[in-house]
Symmetry: C2
Subunit: 296 residues, 2 copies
């Protein structure tokens, strides 16, 4: 299959849905909504919503009627990037080659744009417009899954640990836990969300959860590698910024060769968890490999 074409088609479907399901700048709130939209429409591959869509397709369910939910995932990802870039956090001036939100709108409005994107995601997830498409039980389960993945014991907890760990010597177990919270949890939640939309049975749900955990792991390991190997253009941010901040990374523990092997193992594990799935899971398989080869 042509993954590049598949990703581009899905990405465009996400862009279209984001235009439909997110707010238009108007009235007194135009400034605030513009700040949200600046980062929401700043490009990006829309990997999390695309993963969610690909999982429901692997279960033979068309994801298009459920795009509000996929958009919620992207709002959450965007909020996390805005807050991560803040001066008090990573203090990044560039994101995907463009000035970061706080560089354009100021720190206060950037914090609030992030807050609103996070909150709006839950507005989308609990939207009554989904009532005739998905049971209330399933919608609540999705809300619970995502909330758990991105809160204190998930993404935000991981980011907090990451900042705490800066400049300190941490164990590899801490790094692994930190990564699984910070990056892995939302990716796994995106997979689980697609599994709930696709009415996965218990076996399928746990195989797919395993797939999510493995690609999440691969994603973070590759991110660490790119930070060492990549160019500023590929990353859209300054190369070597992790080293600059004294951050523990996979390469700092294991060197680049061993790190590469670990990423390959994670991808292999992801592929193995899909053995029970038919051709419709081909995009998921290609996606797992793509995470390893992206931007390289």
């Amino acid at each position: 299959m042509d993954l590049k074409a598949y990703l581009e088609k899905k990405r465009l479907q996400v862009e279209e849905a984001l235009e439909i399901f997110t707010l238009k700048p108007q009235g007194l709130l135009a400034g605030h909504i513009n700040a949200m939209r600046y980062s929401l429409f700043a490009g990006g591959k829309r990997i999390r919503p695309v993963i969610c869509m690909a999982v429901s397709e692997a279960l033979h369910v068309d994801p298009l009627p459920y795009m509000q939910i996929a958009c919620g995932l992207e709002c959450i990802n965007t909020y996390s990037l805005i807050h991560d870039d803040l001066p008090a956090m990573d203090n990044d001036d560039l994101r995907r080659g463009k000035p970061t939100n706080h560089k354009v709108f100021g720190e206060a409005q950037a914090i609030l744009a992030g807050d609103s994107l996070l909150t709006y995601a839950f507005e989308l997830l609990s939207s009554p417009e989904l009532a005739d498409k998905l049971s209330s039980e399933d919608r609540l389960r999705i809300t619970q899954t995502i909330a758990k993945a991105i809160g204190p014991t998930g993404m935000v907890g991981g980011q907090s640990l990451d900042i705490e760990a800066e400049g300190k010597s941490i164990s590899f177990d801490t790094l692994k836990y930190l990564h699984s919270c910070k990056t892995g949890a939302l990716i796994t939640a995106a997979v689980q969300t697609g599994a709930i939309i696709g009415k996965a049975n218990n076996d399928q749900f746990s195989s797919l959860t395993n797939y999510g955990n493995k690609i999440g792991l691969a994603f973070q390991i590759v991110d660490d590698m790119l930070n060492v190997e990549g160019t500023a253009e590929q990353l859209g941010k300054a190369v070597g910024s992790d080293a600059k901040h004294n951050k523990a990374t996979y390469p700092s523990f294991f060197g680049i060769e061993k790190t590469r092997e670990m990423a390959q193992d994670a991808v292999k594990g992801a592929l193995e968890s899909l053995t029970g799935f038919d051709d419709q899971a081909e995009p998921l398989r290609e996606l797992a490999k793509y995470i390893y080869y992206r931007k390289r």
Copy 2:
């Protein structure tokens, strides 16, 4: 009735529930959870959860089985205070007489503590533990009501407008809209949440919504008045800080006498919307008056 005793009893029930339903500091995440808990347990009257409880009582439904939801409201209120106090926002050093979150944990961890409290609220609202007490439909409706109230067209939008308006000349209509978003929306959502828990019929729901709007208005007007009249001890923050920041307030538009009348009218409107309710709504009536007389 003895409102003071009622409020104290309810407050203690909220404190107890917060201990039960929020995270304990342990393991690697202890630092992050401590930052959340520092502000969550920094005192305060727990007005929003208490309002929610009082509304369900007015509908003859015991609120105690639903305390997770009331706790969610308090997590949201606490998150909003942490972010409002940040250097980039109001830059307050004190909140309820104690150092603000960022003064204790630093700016990055304060932003993240707020992010986690917001997210954790949605974890509580969508918790499967509520499944045998409240229908999935009702839980989703509560999630939707609260998300809408605190997002870009609610509380956060209002805060964004407030910052935009600082030092500028704004119309009274803008101030009113800003207040209704920033402060009113969450109070009305707390009332509506209690109404959903209490199985309000349509008429009751709209009367209670009106009650929420009126007490929300009264709350903000009185806040403006206290900022002019109050002492630092009463407010737990520096007096006159609105004037210091050049913020438009009710007193700056109408003077203190006319502002007082407007607050009284709002309370009167709140009481009128409860005419269809029996003795069980007495705490709501007393609460409306209390909002006017608090700390005076």
